[in-house]
């Protein structure tokens, strides 16, 4: 078995940087050979700061670099398809952040190319690697809460990403961009989703309407096995990053998530207070690291991807159905998509 994986990171935005830093410093069996970003300046300064041997101002040059064996794709959703397909054609092992792509035809195309080329492809859903979610799954498998019957999940950003990012044409919109995590988890905990019904609106940021998106949503889910669930999403949790999932079963309930960031409670006459988790970088720091380490281990160990393209497609289907449901104000069966 090879000891090291030569990897290139494509995309140095908020999240891209998290992965690139992990690959540079914290994944012992990964060699971060190159970084790429369409903002060449970003790539250059990152390479300088983190002593990365090469940098590129476009993804193609990184993919054509023969020294690189694997790539991590952490770019805007509407660019996933072209990058993943190019990488697959060039025989690179691929890690791709959620969502798999912006549309179902694009996702199917990715699936097809991966099957045809036989490259390694792992989907990125970091919550699956978060300790809370991992332990919850173990408890369920051990029967601690009996049969899971109801899922109630909450995902709230402290503020929206820039308006251009929020644009559904670029990111898929709130339901796809944020909700997809909860839809993936719902599949993991409860089974496949049969139909969805969404309500939502631009309640805090009316400018969302100008790009055809919303900032708060509630998505109801019926599962194929008759169970039920509800997901609520928001872009305006002004107090911090609010990620909680509750799985309720016939013998008990599991509550995943926490509010307190710093292990400190302050008590004065004014009251009792502690801080709140600020954003995804803090909340899921370990999960991102565990996930990318897992990718590298799987590639080097010639193992199956922990999360496959078909999981990415399944979660995307739920997102698309939920978005359609919102626009058409009716329940939508996944089978319709």
């Amino acid at each position: 078995m090879k000891k090291y994986l030569n990897i290139g990171a494509i995309g140095l935005g908020r999240l891209g940087k998290v992965y690139a830093v992990d690959l540079a410093h914290r994944v012992p069996n990964a060699n971060l050979i190159a970084v790429a970003d369409q903002q060449a300046g970003l790539a250059q300064s990152f390479a300088k700061e983190y002593a990365v041997p090469k940098w590129y101002g476009n993804y193609q040059d990184l993919i054509f670099d023969k020294e690189i064996e694997a790539i991590a794709v952490i770019t805007p959703t509407n660019t996933h398809k072209e990058i993943v397909i190019e990488a697959a054609k060039n025989g690179k092992a691929i890690f791709c952040e959620k969502p798999i792509s912006i549309s179902l035809p694009d996702a199917r195309e990715i699936e097809q190319v991966i099957t045809n080329t036989g490259v390694f492809f792992q989907m990125g859903f970091q919550r699956r690697f978060d300790k809370g979610y991992v332990e919850a799954m173990k408890k369920i498998e051990a029967g601690v809460i009996g049969e899971p019957v109801l899922l109630n999940s909450t995902s709230r950003d402290p503020f929206p990403p820039p308006l251009e990012f929020c644009d559904p044409a670029k990111s898929g919109g709130l339901i796809a961009d944020m909700g997809i995590h909860d839809f993936d988890l719902a599949r993991m905990f409860m089974g496949n989703v049969k139909s969805v019904y969404s309500v939502g609106g631009a309640l805090a940021y009316p400018e969302m309407k100008s790009i055809g998106d919303i900032d708060n949503a509630i998505i109801n889910m019926y599962f194929e096995n008759e169970k039920i669930g509800v997901v609520n999403l928001s872009r305006n949790a002004v107090f911090g990053y609010d990620i909680r999932t509750e799985i309720w079963g016939t013998k008990g309930s599991l509550q995943i998530g926490y509010f307190r960031e710093t292990p400190l409670l302050v008590m004065t006459q004014a009251g009792i207070t502690h801080d709140v988790v600020p954003h995804f970088m803090e909340r899921f720091e370990n999960a991102y690291h565990t996930q990318i380490q897992d990718f590298v281990n799987n590639v080097l160990g010639d193992r199956e991807p922990s999360i496959k393209a078909k999981d990415g497609v399944a979660a995307l289907l739920v997102s698309l159905a939920a978005t359609k449901s919102l626009h058409e104000n009716r329940p939508v069966d996944i089978a319709e998509i």
Partner: protein, 339 residues
């Protein structure tokens, strides 16, 4: 209404009747319960004896015909509320009525008209409004602390299902259990509910299937302001009575935890262990029953409008009926389709 004491009659001495009697007799000094009525003689005798109530009668009409009675508390089965309320109003008695008023919109409308016509006070027993936890959330929202409310989440789970006979005559989950949450949803958010989407299942106990009911549900509400709510219900949360609300808005979020008998934490090699939530409504809502009765008496003494009116009772039922229709037809239902 300046008298020595307000004289009460209580109709129905079941679980909830006993709670109200105890509060009126032992915890509210300005009232006296001078009569109780119930068709079950054994229970009636016991309660009258326990609380030293001078008049114990099988028929409520004997209470309503007394001129000394100022007010009554109706704690009898739902299908008896309508005739008793009309008779009480005609007799000029002020009325505290347990929820739900009735399951029929037309009957509730008649009740609202009659009590107004007869000039008697009428209050519905949505006690959770008076629970210290939910009161606090209400006050925080009202004070603008959470800003513009966007999403209300209510979790409401019973520890165990009621008997099959109860389930069959309850009116169904939405009108029997969720009705509290529909009222809470109106109480916490200062905007009217316009639309309902409900999903319900039998996932816990086949007894609900046999009784033509459900035991697990998720209901979504849309408000006129654009705010939304989700309510999740279950008839069996084995670990206790799970009652939580959360109001999320433009400036923050207000949430409550479950009440426990104590807040100890015991830690050993297996981790931390703390008390389970209080096990049933009698324990969980003790102060709220007192709070609502005190509010009712306050209205009688000060001649003000009761904080929970016939209209509140009506709208909770309307939402419940909309939820039933939504579940049946698997679509969003506008309240205007119902009422």
């Amino acid at each position: 209404m300046k008298k020595e004491k307000l004289l009460f009659g209580v109709i129905g001495v079941g679980r909830i009747g006993k709670i109200h009697i105890e509060n009126l007799v032992t915890r509210i000094s300005s009232t006296e319960v001078i009569a109780v009525a119930d068709p079950f003689a054994e229970e009636l005798r016991k309660v009258a004896g326990q609380f030293h109530i001078p008049n114990a009668v099988p028929d409520h009409k004997e209470i309503l015909s007394r001129s000394d009675i100022d007010a009554i508390a109706i704690c009898s089965p739902t299908d008896t509320h309508y005739p008793i309320i009309l008779e009480a109003a005609a007799a000029g008695k002020h009325i505290f009525c347990e929820k739900p008023i009735d399951l029929s919109i037309t009957k509730i409308e008649t009740i609202i008209k009659e009590v107004k016509k007869c000039g008697v006070k009428f209050m519905v027993g949505f006690n959770r409004r008076f629970d210290p936890n939910f009161l606090k959330i209400h006050d925080l929202v009202k004070a603008g602390k959470v800003g513009e409310p966007h999403v209300l989440k209510i979790t409401s789970r019973d520890p165990a299902p009621p008997p099959e006979s109860y389930i069959r005559s309850s009116g169904g989950l939405f009108l029997d259990m969720t009705i509290h949450d529909f009222d809470m949803a109106r109480y916490l958010i200062n905007s009217e509910v316009t639309e309902v989407y409900a999903q319900g299942r039998v996932l816990i106990d086949p007894v609900f299937e046999r009784a033509g009911d459900i035991d697990t549900a998720i209901v979504v509400l849309n408000y006129k302001s654009g705010a939304m709510a989700t309510i999740d219900n279950s008839r069996q949360a084995v670990y206790g009575y799970d009652q939580r609300v959360e109001v999320f808005g433009s400036k923050g979020m207000a949430t409550v935890k479950n009440n426990t008998p104590d807040n100890h934490i015991f830690i050993d090699v297996n981790g931390t262990h703390s008390a389970l939530p209080l096990n049933f409504f009698m324990d969980r809502y003790t102060e709220s029953y007192l709070g609502e009765m005190q509010a009712f008496i306050d209205c009688l003494q000060k001649d003000t409008e009761p904080p929970v009116s016939g209209e509140d009772g009506l709208l909770a039922v309307v939402i419940g009926l909309a939820a039933m229709k939504s579940m049946k037809k698997n679509r969003l239902v506008k309240l205007s389709e119902i009422y």
